[in-house]
Assembly symmetry: C3
Homo-oligomer: 351 residues x 3
C-alpha cells in the first residue's frame, strides 16, 4: 500500500508548509458546456462570446464557480481526504478571468492549526491559490476543515488560528481592466435592473426549484477531479449516519447561483466570496430553492460603469423561499442548507 | 419580489408585440458532445468534420434539433413559463447551418391570441426566430401554447388565429448552397439507401428502444437553458396529477430522431418541421421507441444531388413499433407520445 | 423492415471479410470533458495541455480508453449487435496519439470463426483498426464474441481459430517519437514513484470506490455511439435474467483505470492491452473498486526516459480490495468483474 495515498491527517500538517497540488487542468469549452448542463446558468457574460466581446473580453470566460470548484478539487487529496467537515470559507477573491484553453494548477499554504479538545481531530486552515499557465493568480481563498488524526495519541503541533476578514473590503475587489460594462445590454442580459436599482436590505425570492440526481452531483464532482469519497462511494456510505452519498457543498452553491439569475440577472460576475457555510447536508432527491438579501452596496474605485453588491445567498431543500427562511437566533431555519456571503459585480446606469 | 420574473400571463400578450429573449448563447463543440452523450445520434454529417467537408461545409454543423432546442429554450421565460400545455408546432424551417462558435439569440412575435371559453386561459401563437451573430436567421418556426390568465376577470384582448400552412411547401425548403451531396459516401454514412429507394407510404420500424433517466432529461433541458419548472422541480410536481417531473417534449423528438438512424441513416439533415404534437406525457423510466412513415417525396429545385422526404415520425413509450402504432380514428394508439411531421434531406443517386 | 439493420448473425460472417464501419467521428474537447465528468481521471498527460507540451506533444491527447471505446462502438452494429457475450480482447496496441479535432473511423477483418457444438451460435474473431483522418492507425486490436445464428439449421462456414499472442511483446510497444518523458514533473503528476520504484509481483490497492448510475453508463455508451441494446433498453431487459440494463464492459475498464491513479499516478499512458475478460456483469448501483498487480517490467528499446509496466488490473463490485480479490483455481473471487492485462508507460528516473 506504500504507493496509495491515504491523504494527510491532522498531525501531518504544519503551519507555513506549502503544498503543490497534483494534476494541472486545462479548462475547455467542454467543461463549460457540462457546467451549463448541470446547473443551467443563464448569465449573459459566460453564455455568449459576443456578449463578452461587447464588454471588452476576448470571449466568454469560464464561470467563476467552475474555476473555483476545479481549484478546490485539486486541494482535496492533500487537505480534506480525511476531513470530517468543511467548516467554512473566507477571503476568496476572483482575480484574473479564466478562459477556455487556460491551464489551472493549485497550491496551498497551511496558515492555522487548532487541535480539538477531544484529541481526535483538529481544524486546519489553508490559503489556496489557483494559478494559470502565465503564473497569474486567478483565485485566492481560505478555507478551514475539521480533519481526523491518524493517531489520537500524537502530540499536538504548534497551533494558531489566523485572523480572517469578516468580508473582503470593497476596495480590494478586482475588476479586470479589460472588462468594461459601459455597453451592457439589458435586453440581452435578461433584466432591466442595474446596480442603482438594488437597495440594502432588499430580499429576492428566486422562485424556481431544482431537484438533484446522484448522476448529476457525481458528474460535477468528477469534472472538478474532486476525490472526496463521500460523494461517490455508496458502499462506504451505507455505514454512515444517513446511509447516503453526500452532495458536494459547491454543487449547492452553483445551483443556488444559477437559480439566482431570476432576480439578479445582471450580476454577471462574482468578485469575491466573503464567507460561506454548508449548514445542513444535501442529498440526491432534494429540491433546492434559493433567495438573496442585499447586504451592502459599494462603488468600485475609479469606475463609473460597474458597482458591487454584497449578497447573502441562502439555499434551502424541500422549502420554497417565499417566506425567506434564513438565520435564526440559534442557527438557521431547518430547511436551510447554504448560507453564503459574496460580492457581485453589476453594471451601473450610464451617467 | 419586484425583481423576480414570474413570466407572462395570457392577458400580457398582444398581437404584433415583438419579444427579444434573453441570454445569447454561443454553441460549442462541448454542447455537441453532450448532445451525443444524451441521444447517441450517428448521422455522419454532424458526427464528422471530415464528412462535413466532403459535402462542402467548413466543419460538422451543430445538429438541427440542438439548435432548435436552444432557440426554443430562450423563448420559455417569456412565452411558456405559465403554459398549461404546448399545443403544437408549425412552419419550422432550418435556414442557415449553425457551427460551433456561433452565437444564437432569439426573438418572437405574437401572431395570434384566442381566449378559451372558460375564461381561465387562452392560446398564444408565436413566431420565433433564431439568429446568429451575423444576423442570419438560422431557424424560424411557429408554436402555440395554452397559457393561464393571471386574473380571470381581465377582459379579453383583441384576438385572432393565424393561418398556418399544413406543411412547409417543398419549394420553400432551404438547402445551404455550400452543401453538396455529390460526393456522399454511403460506406461512411451507414446505409446504402438513398432518396430514390424510399417509397411514399413506406413504414420503417426503427427497432431500438431507449430508457430515459431523470438526470438525462434535466441535463438536456438545462443545456438548452430551458427553465420550464415541470422538468426540474420534483417538490412542486409532487402536487401535480402524476406526481412526476415531465420530460421536455423536445427530448422525445431528439431521442426518436436518433433512433431513426436505423432505417434513415442517410437522412443527415432536417430541412423543416411541418407540425408536431406531444400526444401523451413522457417521464423518466419510460422506454422510447420510434417508427417512421414516408408521407411524400419532393425534388429540390435546381438540385440533382439531393431530394426531400416528408416523414411522419411516431415515438412511443413502453411499446415496440413492430405493429406501427400511430393515429387512430379517435386520436392515437395509447402508447404513442409523439406525432411529428418533417422534411428530411437525403442524397440522390448520381445521374 | 428492409431498411432497418438487425445486425449480422453468425452465418453472415466469413473469414477474410473486411467490414468498413459506419459514422466517422470527430473527437473533441467536449468528448474529453464528458469523459472526465464520467470517470474523474487525474492523469496529468490527458488533463493538461501544458503538461502534454512539457513532454513534447502539441496538446493534451485524448485518453487512450476514450479512443478505444469510440472505435469499439463503431464495430458494434456490424459485429456484436447479436452477441450473447463478449469473450475477450487481445493484442491491442495504441499506436498514434489522438488529439481533439481528429476524426476516427474503424474497419474490421474477420480472422476466425468457430461454431459452437450446440449449433445455436458461434464465436467470431475480429481484428479491428481505428484510423485517423491522415490514414494513420491509432488503435489495433482483436476481440472475440459469441454471436447467435439467425437460422440454427444454417450450415457451418469454414472456420478456424486465429493464433493470438498471450501478450503484446515489449519490443512491439509503440511510444510516439514526439513523446519525451525527460522533463516529467512528479510534483504536477501527483506521485513520486517512477518506473524504477515498481517491483514485479507488487500489489496495489487503489482504495477508492465509485458507484455507477444508469444515466452515467448510458451517457458514456452513447458518447461512443455504441448501440448495444442491453445498455439502453429497460423494456427489453425486463425479460432478461436479471431484469436489468447491463453496464458496458468498457465502462468498468475506464472506472478501474481512473481509480488506479491512486497508486499508479505516473502511468500516464496505456501502450497496449494484452487481454481482458469481463468476469461478471455490472449494473447501476454497483460500487466499483480496483487493485493492480505488477506482472512484468520492460525497457523500451532505444529509450532511457520511459519504461513499461505490465499490469493486471482487477475491478470488483461491492468488494473493497484490501485483500486483493482476484483469480482463484476455479475462476475468480465472486466480487471480481474485470480481469485486465495491459502495458503502461511510465517515466524513468534521470540517469
Amino acid at each position: 500500500m506504500g504507493k496509495t495515498s491515504t491523504g494527510n491527517y491532522f498531525e501531518d500538517f504544519e503551519i507555513g508548509r506549502i503544498l503543490r497540488h497534483a494534476t494541472p487542468r486545462t479548462v475547455t469549452q467542454g467543461d463549460a458546456a457540462i457546467y451549463t448542463a448541470l446547473f443551467g446558468p443563464r448569465f449573459a457574460l459566460t453564455s455568449s462570446d459576443e456578449f463578452a466581446r461587447s464588454l471588452g473580453l476576448a470571449c466568454a470566460p469560464i464561470d467563476n464557480l467552475l474555476a473555483f470548484h476545479i481549484i478546490f478539487g485539486k486541494t482535496v487529496p492533500d487537505i480534506s481526504l480525511n476531513a470530517i467537515a468543511i467548516l467554512g470559507y473566507a477571503d476568496c477573491r476572483f482575480l484574473a478571468p479564466v478562459y477556455p484553453g487556460d491551464t489551472l494548477s493549485a497550491t496551498s499554504e497551511i496558515i492555522g492549526l487548532r487541535e480539538l479538545s477531544n484529541g481526535k481531530s483538529g481544524v486546519v486552515y489553508v490559503r489556496s491559490a489557483g494559478v494559470n499557465q502565465r503564473h497569474e493568480v486567478v483565485i485566492d481563498y481560505v478555507r478551514w476543515v475539521m480533519v481526523r488524526k491518524r493517531d489520537e495519541t500524537a502530540p499536538a503541533r504548534p497551533g494558531g488560528v489566523p485572523e480572517l476578514p469578516q468580508a473582503v473590503a470593497a476596495q480590494d475587489l478586482v475588476v479586470p481592466s479589460s472588462l468594461n460594462f459601459r455597453g451592457f445590454n439589458c435586453d440581452l442580459s435578461g433584466a432591466p435592473h442595474l446596480w442603482e436599482d438594488y437597495q440594502i436590505g432588499e430580499k429576492i425570492n428566486h422562485v424556481d426549484g431544482m431537484t438533484i440526481e446522484e448522476a448529476e452531483h457525481m458528474m460535477a464532482a468528477r469534472l472538478y477531479q474532486n476525490t472526496a469519497r463521500v460523494h461517490f462511494n455508496q458502499y462506504m456510505q451505507n455505514s454512515s449516519n444517513d446511509a447516503r452519498r453526500l452532495v458536494y457543498g459547491g454543487h449547492v452553491i452553483s445551483l443556488a447561483r444559477a437559480l439566482s439569475f431570476n432576480g439578479l440577472a445582471n450580476g454577471v460576475k462574482i468578485a469575491a466570496i466573503n464567507g460561506g457555510r454548508h449548514v445542513a447536508p444535501c442529498h440526491a432527491g432534494n429540491t433546492v430553492f434559493a433567495w438573496s438579501e442585499i447586504l451592502d452596496k459599494a462603488e468600485i474605485s475609479g469606475r463609473r460603469d460597474v458597482g458591487a453588491l454584497r449578497v447573502r445567498l441562502f439555499a434551502t431543500k424541500g422549502q420554497p423561499c417565499t417566506e425567506f427562511p434564513g438565520a435564526t437566533e440559534t442557527g438557521h431555519h431547518p430547511g436551510v442548507i447554504l448560507d453564503l456571503d459574496y460580492w457581485l459585480l453589476m453594471a451601473r446606469r450610464a451617467a
